[in-house]
């Protein structure tokens, strides 16, 4: 109950920020529209709606990192968190309270992205449900990144690191905008060593109902998600003790 009270508050803080809503929902949809329009004029295979939508939904999650990191960093800078540290809320309550509200928001964003892509020509079948479910571990990875950045950085730094650097890096290294092979072996190797491209390829495979291929990408997502989560929790609790 304690944790839910805190989680509800975090959800309200995120959803009541119009910039969050605008970017979180609006930006991925604008990208879908823009790239679909480009595809209509100059056909590029990777911008076909069935190829593009899974990538855009994964890219949209980088805003979840930004939202959760900003909320945590803001809380850390305010006296509210100090007050809450003096209540019976435990470390686990704080971690789950920050994480759980972002999960339905992220899944909501994913569903809206897929729904919006349907009139643009997205193939509708049961695989879309698997693709949406497949976003859960990817969302956890992005939330963990948010928790880590929010625990380590101040609000200004979060804006720079998550708002600019992470959104761009996760986009470039995910193969959404261009074929990674275009930039040569080293770039491709770096990208494949990171989880972003695996998240996009898993989503693409799930949309096509190719579960064997999807399964080959889940391990890096789980490993990175789990590893970053452990690191994030350790950093948050350490900062809490250092208050």
């Amino acid at each position: 109950m304690r944790m839910w009270a805190f989680a509800k508050r975090c959800a309200k803080e995120i959803l009541r920020d119009p910039i969050n809503l605008g970017f979180g929902l609006g930006f991925p949809i604008v990208l879908l529209l823009m790239l679909s329009a480009m595809q209509a004029n100059i056909p590029v295979n990777m911008f076909q709606i069935d190829e593009l939508t899974p990538g855009i939904t994964v890219f949209g999650l980088s805003f979840m990192t930004l939202f959760s990191a900003t909320l945590i960093a803001k809380d850390r800078e305010s006296a509210l968190l100090q007050r809450l540290y003096t209540t019976p809320l435990t470390g686990v309550d704080f971690i789950l309270g920050y994480m759980l509200p972002v999960l339905p928001i992220a899944l909501g964003q994913t569903v809206i992205c897929y729904l919006f892509a349907i009139p643009l020509g997205l193939t509708v079948n049961v695989n879309l449900i698997y693709a949406i479910l497949g976003m859960i571990p990817v969302t956890v990875l992005y939330i963990a990144l948010g928790l880590l950045c929010g625990s380590l950085l101040n609000v200004k730094q979060v804006g720079g690191v998550c708002g600019a650097l992470l959104t761009n890096l996760s986009a470039w290294l995910s193969g959404v905008w261009f074929d990674l092979r275009l930039l040569g072996g080293t770039f491709s190797k770096i990208a494949r060593a990171l989880p972003f491209v695996h998240a996009v390829e898993m989503e693409k495979a799930l949309c096509k109902g190719n579960f064997t291929q999807a399964a080959t990408h889940i391990l890096p997502i789980l490993l990175y998600g789990g590893g970053i989560m452990v690191l994030a929790v350790a950093c948050f609790l350490r900062k809490k003790q250092k208050t």
Binding site: M1, A5, P88
Partner: protein
């Protein structure tokens, strides 16, 4: 039993000793003020007593529980209004109060009753549905203290509750604090002489982390040989060789 007891309580930050071997006893139901200029160690003392920061050495007992060994039990007994206004700005006043009710595990009925009670006590009815972040400093401070009281604490910590408020808001808040006297033990930190003299049962004067004197306002004035409390404070602080 004392509500608060500190034993050689010390906090060091590298070479700086923020609080130095503090020995203090505060009786149940008492309103005790820690008075001192900036950097005296008042807020650090409150942070240690509220389990926000660990003492470097020594210990403190809040409601009989050790802040170093039993912080969870301590947290169930206390309410804290930090120096800066601690409200969730995007939540309404009512939602802020509900948040704390949820954290203390209150039922729906108890939540409603507690909010009604505190809204009445602090005159918050008119602002219950307003966003806390949009209120004036004085109102935010009232909400902050009401939030500290939600859990029906036995011991209430008010860290510089009137800092930055205009004279009218300060007087309004003093009235609220006076109404709390006797209902809970209150530890208040301040650097306003008038506030300490007017509200407190006893006052402790701190300088550079050391508790220089403890007593009622009258006792402190007698000790300094003056009728004026501000003059007594200045005399005690200036004479101290720390």
């Amino acid at each position: 039993m004392e509500a608060i007891k500190t034993v050689e309580l010390t906090k060091r930050y590298k070479s700086l000793i923020a609080v130095n071997k503090l020995n203090l006893e505060i009786k149940q139901g008492e309103l005790f003020s820690l008075l001192g200029v900036n950097g005296a160690g008042k807020t650090t003392t409150v942070k240690m007593l509220t389990c926000l920061t660990k003492p470097s050495s020594g210990d403190a007992y809040v409601g009989g529980y050790s802040v170093t060994k039993e912080p969870n039990q301590v947290k169930r007994l206390i309410g804290v209004s930090p120096q800066e206004t601690a409200v969730a700005p995007n939540l309404s006043v009512e939602e802020n109060l509900k948040l704390l009710c949820g954290i203390y595990g209150f039922s729906k009925e108890k939540t409603k009753a507690r909010i009604r009670e505190l809204a009445c006590q602090f005159g918050l009815d008119a602002v219950l549905r307003k966003k806390a972040g949009k209120l004036s400093g004085g109102w935010q401070r009232r909400v902050s203290i009401a939030m500290a009281l939600i859990g029906e604490p036995q011991i209430l910590f008010l860290d510089e509750p009137t800092i930055g408020l205009d004279v009218l808001a300060r007087h309004e808040l003093w009235k609220c604090i006076q109404e709390l006297k006797g209902k809970a033990t209150i530890l208040l930190t301040t650097h306003y002489m008038e506030e300490a003299e007017r509200l407190s049962d006893r006052i402790g004067i701190m300088k550079n982390g050391i508790l220089l004197a403890v007593g009622t306002a009258e006792e402190l004035k007698r000790k300094a040989g003056t009728d004026d409390f501000e003059a007594a404070f200045v005399s005690i602080v200036k004479e101290a060789a720390v």
